[in-house]
Symmetry: D2
Subunit: 358 residues, 4 copies
């Protein structure tokens, strides 16, 4: 039940880290959308391991194969299935944890929930699953682009290094100019340094990704349970290692007075705008036409190269030390994942909203 998200633009992902393939079925993409396969591949390469010195050195060949739903380069309205074969599988790297629970991993909970688990590379709990999300998100982005909606994300915090500027003070074109994906070059350099140093210390560190959607029309989001930010929040919290989400003023807004926080309506030519945007572009759960922005908090990666205490599946105390190739900080590669999940939620709500009025 848990491998599907979306109501009208709906995706189902499948696949384990070290099985034959991972993949996704996208059901509900309207017919007539030009499917730019190069764009999909490019999005996947932004997520893929081994892209820089501050990401895992593991190599994954993320070549997507479209199995269905596209005819002569255009979506047909039938499900689009995409698979990505697994390769460079050093399953042996995982033999040492076949019977051990890695701290703060999903080993123990999967074992208890299912009575068994595919321990190789974390199996289904591996972040490799997010490649399927990125592939599907690329198609959602293509759909949204047709509707004038653009999605961006960038790293706004690594450890205690905080990007102090807000998105409107930044040149978002600079996001991809550096390997940490922070649009402020100075801050980016400090972040890179911190990650590199953490990696050398055989440790890991957390960070924050800021997400942004521009050009969203008024009306997306459903009242009550499927509020736009509630669905965005769920989508973000479903990404591996995410521990928090806030939108607009978020946790900081807690300290504000209503008189400061309220976004007053005004007009810019014929367009209704708000003179501030503490709402984060969403009011009553529904987009109000202003920029949507939110933060996603990632914990430090659980796999560390230091020895830790743990238990094996029989309940005996054991020592666990990370092996293989892992990210010292997940946020640089999380940027395209945050974008993909944003695109999936917005595409779904775009289709849902079409039926709001007669």
């Amino acid at each position: 039940m848990s491998n599907t998200i979306g109501q009208l633009f709906r995706i189902t992902t499948f696949g384990e880290s070290h099985g034959p393939a991972i993949g996704v079925v996208i059901d509900g993409c309207p017919a007539g959308l030009k499917i730019d396969t190069e764009f999909i591949a490019n999005e996947l390469s932004r997520r893929k391991p081994g892209q820089s010195k501050i990401t895992t050195q593991r190599k994954e060949d993320d070549s997507p194969e479209i199995l269905s739903g596209v005819f002569e380069g255009v979506s047909t309205g039938t499900p689009i299935a995409i698979i990505i074969r697994n390769s460079d599988q050093r399953s042996k790297d995982y033999d040492h944890i076949a019977e051990k629970y890695r701290p703060s991993h999903a080993d123990y909970t999967y074992q208890e929930k299912y009575g068994l688990r595919d321990y190789r590379g974390g199996g289904r709990s591996s972040a490799r699953e997010t490649a399927a999300r990125v592939a599907a998100g690329a198609i959602a982005k293509l759909l949204l682009k047709e509707k004038g909606i653009e999605i961006k994300a960038y790293v706004s915090q690594v450890g205690s290094i905080v990007l102090e500027k807000s998105y409107s003070q930044l040149n978002l074109e600079d996001i991809e100019t550096n390997i940490v994906r922070c649009p402020d070059v100075d801050t980016a350099n400090r972040m890179i340094e911190l990650i590199d140093e953490t990696r050398k210390g055989q440790d890991t560190i957390g960070g924050i990704v800021t997400g942004l959607a521009i050009g969203v029309p008024v009306g997306l989001g459903e009242p009550v349970f499927d509020k736009l930010h509630a669905d965005l929040g769920k989508a973000m919290l479903s990404i591996n290692a995410v521990k928090g989400f806030d939108v607009g003023s978020g946790f900081e807004g807690v300290e504000m007075r209503g008189s400061e926080h309220n976004d007053q309506f005004s007009k810019e030519g014929q367009k209704i705008i708000t003179t501030s945007n503490f709402s984060g572009g969403i009011q009553g759960g529904i987009s109000n036409g202003q920029d949507i922005y939110f933060r996603v908090a990632f914990k430090p990666v659980a796999t560390i190269m230091k020895e830790q205490d743990s238990l094996d599946i029989h309940g005996n105390p054991v020592k666990v030390t990370g092996r293989g190739r892992h990210d010292p900080c997940v946020v640089p590669r999380a940027v395209p994942i945050v974008e993909a999940m944003t695109a999936l939620v917005l595409a779904d709500h775009f289709l849902l909203n079409i039926n709001s009025k007669l």
Copy 2:
């Protein structure tokens, strides 16, 4: 589509603030559960307006009527419908906003999305809708209690007054001893003072509610999209005025190293535990048997008694001043709502988990 939440323990709410009634249909409650109507009424009275000097003085008669699904005091497995009649409706209090958009309210987005709106008391966007959630949540709590799961919530921040102790350092029995629902008496008094002062200044202020689930068995939560904390996050973010959610170490965990943050497994007698709990009781999206705890950030209430600039539905500039009776701070009354949404998510995942293994 947006008025339903849950897959197996599924609720659908309905009703506007100033219509004849609000209500909820609970579908999927197993047969054989004793339905304690006094408990439901008590939960509603914890949410209801007018309960203290720091909440709105509006009176609502929150008397629930069970229309179906209960026979001789026991659930029958068929849908349980509960309605609460609206009364004390001063609809006239809202005539002045029939054609005006209140800043940071849902007026503008509803009007644009639907082409019309029931403006009386905010209609469907009114926090009165949460009474239906609390009624349903009470039944979820009764179900969870049978399974040994207990849910608590309390106010941990108002404006910049922060409750510095963690839940394990507090006596949770003290939550209901004061009107702000903070289990630390000193902090509670300072919070009450701040709210009272804010109210006198015709303003409002935000706050944070901490939620807690104790006794949750290992295995609740589904991998990938329906991770337990993703569903909790969505449920919380769907509550009016919520702008943020984090679980376990949350936003603070961002600054930690993996070596500090990892929760190492150990044994307490025969029970597997973790020696720290930065994970917040959830690993890989699945409960690990430790306490689940999370924070929910509420913005300051949008209705203030001060004059603000805005537009009317024709796009003309207008002045808006709040009338009627409103909360200066939403968190004291939000405590039972956070508990209710927690119970609904856990009840649903409890039922979902039963089919995990053969």
Copy 3:
């Protein structure tokens, strides 16, 4: 889970025959639809007991109360909740079956599935639940009417009395001219006589209702699992006492050759038509713009006034004799129910289809 039907135009029904009320929540009705309450009441009166000598003489006061989702006579896009209070409840009529399983009723299966049951009047399994469907179906009809879609149903068989003419040979205006709702007066009279005679013999008899949808645009229905006739079939088979469904040529088409059965395309002015319509207006699961027609088979009502062998809930042999007031034949009152379910399925598919292409 079972009390909801529809994806975008979605209804949830609740209520037991002898509880306080039955009702329905309609979620997904677009805003801006004029809600004609007289029409809803009229549809309910077509279903209600006691309307003629060939229906049950039980009286039910089917007065619908709209609790939400309608403001100033127009749908607001929020859930429309309608309740119908139960009255004239002769619960005592059912005391004799509190511990007995009536043959071919749901008593035994409910008792086993749920461990208990509300035995009064069949509880949730009572056909009274269909009043909620008719109320919701009335709103779906109002929506479809705006789109030029008309729905009709009539009795085409009672026992072995078959209406030999097809719908195109009949004057459908005559359906409501007689109490059995068969548009051919001669056949209607024979049907009425048979039902009356059956009733006098303290027995019951089955029948067939033919359903019809005219003016359905091309494109409704989704390929693969949610084919238009698959969803119509499920909706019909979910009505109490229904044992069969076929569409177009149906069971008779089995004996035909492809060369006879194929509907050849042609043009009528600029409109694409088929020169025959064995497909019943649906090809590949999708409406083709021709009339949609189908049959719904109802078994004889299970409650008979004759003594029958059965068991009690302890497994002891008992005698059961029907009491109270029951229909000798269900089809005259089933006509509006078949129409309602047809309207609900078409309204849902109408909304679903809007997103088929970019």
Copy 4:
């Protein structure tokens, strides 16, 4: 939206007839089920074309590849994805219909609904899609077998040749002894002769498949909309070429009196049984422990080798003549498909029922 069926045991199929592959994702299969790949392959070979002189001579290599969800031969609780590569694709056979609407096919409705279509071999509307259902159904069968539930289907009518015996008078072991899959050898021979003769006449003919589920426990099926036979009906009506479904006494029961039709309860040792079974093993939408049986009506295959009148996509009159290799009668190959859909529905309801009572 239409490519998914099931709530807890949920499948999503994808793929076009002449694309790279078709496939299915099974989400919700409990962990710990032994996955017998040979059994899956065998089920697929019962469906596959070219298996006898009375089926299409087209060859399809139905080799399933399991991509995920199975570890060391056992289900892990994560989604099981299976793909089947397409081969022997004579796409050129379809060039002549790229711009023509074949009568009683899905060409016209797909073209109108989606604005374009993959015309090769019918694309998504091809019966090749059912191979994905059979693969998933095989896994559902393995699950049901663990629970003592057995599923069978056989051909009970071809054209006007009717198998007069009921399932209880037949030796079901004989189903697979002949190429038409009718357990009565004499009738089977007459059916084979009729199909062969029809094929030689370049025509096609319809037929009926009877489905059967034995050993179903009491309690499967949900009241109201998701009645067990309503879900079975939908599942069957979603199979290509199906025009009708009835359960138990079905359309014939219409002519019966209640006193004949009612199934009286009795005991066989300690087991509660009914002395007749006109209900078809389902009462009030819930299985009663008796055998479940139903009929599925298939129209004659639309592709015939005779010339027919039609239109092209520009609305011009054209002649269409079937080419390629097609079935003269679909029922022999439909038997495993009916079984698969039965298994999928029962597996889903088996899991749903587990939560009926506390």
